[in-house]
Amino acid sequence: MSVRTPVVLLPRILDRHTVSPSAYQPLLQFAARLNPDGNGICPVVAALLPEDIPIDSVRRLLPGIRLRLGGLDLMSRDEMVNIPAFSLASAWEELLADIETMCCLLPHTIDGVQLAAYLSVRMKAACIPGVVDVDSLDGGKPLFHRLVDHGNRVARIAAQTENVVVTVDRGRLTMQENLPSIPDDTVEVKRLSWTIDRRYRLRDRSTPSADTRDLDRARVVVAVGRGLGKAENLSQVEAFAATFPGSAVAGSRGACDAGWIPPERQIGVTGKSVSPEVYVALGISGAPQHLAGMQSSRSVVSINIDPHAPIFAHSDVGIVADMGAFIAAWIDRISSIQKGKAPCL
């Protein structure tokens, strides 16, 4: 009987022009957990390599790990970083075609999910995106945990196919002890015949250039969400933020899409990540994509009218209130404290 193995795909092995697989360490640890009874299967790590990157350089960075490398002939590292990631989807398919996989693991990124969906169709395998944990029933099939129902619940899901493609949400992985893995230094190199999908043409790629260093430096970040209701309420939020020393104002994607907060001040997956001493979330529901940008803040205070808003599970202080009423009471209180009049608790 052939034994199926987990395969970890490294779709972005180049960080700019340098080989850098370090970001994938959590995926490797996660893959090792798919064989809890240590049946000797070491996850395979798969990567596509442009012709001007020596295999040894990858070997050195990933010692003791079984590697499956796809040689992209006629493609240089310069070219590889200048094509849309998805142009290589069929190359990935070819690289994995002759491996008996039990699970293909990709990072939970926008490109990672798109590639996972493609591979799942081509490999006739189930697909589970945004996996945060794994366990199994009686040592049997893995049960993958992912958020469902607007992010309000965690479901444990089993694939009904022999192979399953998952994307692993590194930011929300439940941390577990590292499992010892058996070192395996096998390197397989496969020359690929099918490489770039020429239907795609990259026209431009740009990183945000606006200066938002004040958000990095701020002691207190006051972030506002769709709960603000209308643009006119923003001045109240600014007055609220001004009561804190060293504060800066930011927003959720909801607030930025509404045009209340400039897009470069959006906090979350597609925005900035901040880790201030205090993060105050006003009228923000707490979507996983927002949490990703603020969960390393030292303290989180959230104010939301809905007592069941998911943000409360990720806050040190939860205040159920209408944000307008709360801010009015706050400003009133702080100004009287600052005048030295009001008693403090």
Partner: protein, 266 residues
């Protein structure tokens, strides 16, 4: 240039299990009688309608599949400006692969040059159906698109040029030939409100697919074993009372834990 655009719309149950309200009730119920358009799909429809207004000849068709709520959502789509709406019934909520299979078949029956999806469904949060349908049709797919335009390539064929928004706000502009799939991310342009007069005429634009004529559905490849509340990442103190009392309690908490507002002792 004449362009046909299909937009896939998923009905979303309003408050399917009441947020965290029904703590003991782990079942996700789908029999809510109130449905609305998925936010990402509303942006997808808006994108198609805006493209239509910029092109000389274009036809926008909405497609909705579901056991529930499709009529509400498709009526709204017609109210917003869709020329036709295709409504299909499936017996139960399906996994992305089955829905993608049915949608790919419907696209063969109701052809288009551009196939729009929302980036993801707000409830299931998978972001799979669009790229899976593209893989089944063997069409190129651009995901998480925040702006798009149609242009003519050097060979005279139509192409789509779209800007995708990726992690940390990186913007990537990619071009590919039609037919193509786009999955639409939310953006600063708010989806338009439906026009009442158009909604009232929506019956004429609604095309219902008879159950017998629905494409065969593939079996589910996923099995949900159980559903639980997610673990809290922090232990939360709730500050109760009136806003005034809550404000005072927060000042106090910030003093103790962050030495903020220490300047006046009161």
């Amino acid at each position: 240039m004449r362009i046909r655009m299909n937009v896939c719309l998923k009905p979303i149950a309003e408050n399917p299990c009441g947020g965290w309200r029904s703590i003991k009730d782990f079942e996700i119920r789908n029999e809510s009688d109130r449905f609305r358009m998925n936010l990402y799909d509303a942006h997808a429809l808006e994108a198609a309608l805006q493209l239509k207004s910029r092109l000389s000849e274009a036809f926008v068709q909405a497609i909705g599949l579901g056991p529930f709520g499709t009529e509400t959502v498709l009526k709204r789509a017609v109210g917003m400006g869709a020329d036709r709406a295709v409504q299909g019934t499936v017996p139960e909520p399906l996994d992305a692969l089955s829905i993608a299979g049915a949608l790919a078949e419907l696209v063969r029956r109701y052809p288009c040059d551009l196939l729009f999806f929302g980036y993801m469904a707000e409830d299931s949060q998978q972001a799979l159906t669009g790229p899976m349908t593209a893989a089944l049709l063997d069409w190129p797919c651009l995901s998480a698109v925040v702006s798009e335009r149609v242009l003519q390539g050097e060979d005279g064929r139509l192409r789509v040029c779209a800007t995708r928004e990726l992690e940390a706000g990186v913007l990537e502009t990619v071009e590919c030939p039609l037919p193509a799939v786009l999955t639409i991310q939310t953006r600063a342009v708010q989806p338009r409100y439906p026009v009442l007069s158009k909604m009232l005429r929506s019956k004429d634009a609604l095309l219902q697919i008879d159950a017998r004529n629905m494409p065969p559905l593939s079996e589910s490849v996923l099995k949900t074993v159980d559903i639980q509340l997610p673990q809290a990442s922090r232990s939360t103190i709730r500050l109760e009372g009136t806003p005034e009392e809550q404000a005072l309690a927060l000042v106090d908490w910030l003093r103790i834990h962050h030495q903020l507002f220490m300047e006046v002792s009161g």
